[in-house]
Subunit: 207 residues, 2 copies
C-alpha cells in the first residue's frame, strides 16, 4: 500500500460534488441521527438526518451539532429557534434507508415522518416529536447557537433533558452497548455501517 | 424490549464517573483520532486521542473538535495555539489499544509517541508530526478557537491542508471506503469498534 499526498490546492480543484463526498469522508465514522422538531406540539412535524452530533460535555449533559442554514435543514433550524426544543434519535441498522430518505428536499408542509414511514411519538413531558422506531431517543433543550463565520454554519448546543432507551442495556459503569442497541453509523454522505466491538481498555495511566 | 425514561434530574444524581460514561455514549459512534502537535518541528512532540472531530464544511475544507482546556489535552492545545498547526490521524482497527494509551496523563516532557510505540513522521511541507501508522492523516491549519461558555470548553476549527492516504481507495465519486482502510470508531470513553457496510443510497429526492 503506497500513500500519496492530496494537497489543499488539489482539493480546491476538485469538482464540487466530488469534493463534498471526499471531505465528508475525512472526519471518519459519524453518528447517524434524526432530528425531530415541530412548529408546535403535533403540528408541522419535521425530521431530518444529520451526521454532525458531537459530545460537548457530561456535566451539564451537552451535545452540539453543526448545521448549515438555507439548506434542507432550514425547517429544522426554524423550529428549534421558535420552540427551543428538539429530539436526537439514533438511526437503527434496521432502517438506514428510511433515515437517509429524510434528507430529500420535501416542501415545508410535508412531514418527513409521513413521507418516509417513520412514526412521530411524544412523551408526556416534551413538546418535540421523537422517532418511535429509534433505539435511543434524546429530548434536547436548546442552550446556544454560535455562528461559525468561516463558512456561515451554526454550532447548535443543547442539553439532554430525557433519554429513552432499553435501560437494561446500561452496564454497571454507565456504558451503553451501542452495537447491541443496533445503532448505525455513517461515513461520507451516503454510506451506512454497523459496528462490532474490537476491545475495551481500562482508564489509561502512565506505566 | 421495554423502554424507560432517564430524566435530566436522574442524570444529575448519577455518580460523576458513571455519568461521564453514560453521557459519552449518547452521542453515538464517534471518530477515533490522534492529534499530533509539537512545540517546534521535531521538538517536544505530543499525540493525544480525541473523539470529538466533526465535519464543518467541504469548501473550504474544515473540521472542528471540542476540547477541554486544563485536562490531558492541555499540551495539545498549548502547541496548537503556539504553532497554529496540528495533525488529525485516524486510529486503525489494528492498534486501538496503543491509541487509547495516549490518553494517560504523561508529564509534558514525555512524548506519547515514545511512550506508546507510535511513530512520529513529518512530511516535507508541514511542521506538525503525523502518526506514521495511521491509514488517513490530515495536516490541519488552525482557523479559529471559539470558547463555549456553557462548560468552558473550546471549539477548535482547522482547515485541511494535506491528506495522506492510499489514494487507490478513493472511488470515482470521491468517497473513501473507511472500512477498507481499517479505520476504527469509538463509543463512550473506552470501547473501540470496526465497521461493516450496511448500504449506500442515492442522493435522496422526494418520490
Amino acid at each position: 500500500m503506497t500513500e500519496s499526498c492530496i494537497s489543499r490546492h488539489a482539493i480546491e480543484q476538485m469538482p464540487d460534488r466530488f469534493r463534498a463526498s471526499f471531505i465528508n469522508c475525512l472526519s471518519g465514522f459519524k453518528s447517524a441521527n434524526l432530528i425531530g422538531t415541530c412548529a408546535q406540539r403535533g403540528q408541522q412535524e419535521n425530521v431530518a438526518i444529520v451526521s454532525s452530533v458531537v459530545h460537548v460535555g457530561a456535566n451539564p449533559p451537552l451535545l452540539g451539532m453543526v448545521m448549515r442554514p438555507h439548506t434542507v435543514v432550514r425547517d429544522t433550524l426554524d423550529n428549534i429557534n421558535a420552540t427551543g426544543v428538539y429530539t436526537i434519535n439514533h438511526v437503527s441498522t434496521h432502517w438506514t434507508q428510511q433515515a437517509h430518505q429524510t434528507s430529500a428536499r420535501y416542501p415545508s408542509e410535508v412531514s418527513e415522518f409521513d413521507a418516509t414511514g417513520l412514526t412521530a411519538w411524544y412523551s408526556d413531558t416534551f413538546a418535540a416529536p421523537f422517532v418511535q422506531q429509534s433505539p435511543i431517543k434524546l429530548a434536547m433543550q436548546l442552550q446556544s447557537i454560535t455562528p461559525i463565520a468561516l463558512n456561515n454554519t451554526q454550532f447548535v448546543i443543547g442539553s439532554i433533558e430525557e433519554v429513552w432507551l432499553d435501560a437494561t442495556g446500561i452496564d454497571e459503569s454507565g456504558r451503553i452497548d451501542l452495537a447491541t442497541h443496533n445503532v448505525a453509523s455513517v461515513a461520507g454522505l451516503d454510506t451506512y455501517y454497523r459496528a462490532s466491538r474490537i476491545g475495551r481498555y481500562p482508564y489509561a495511566k502512565p506505566e
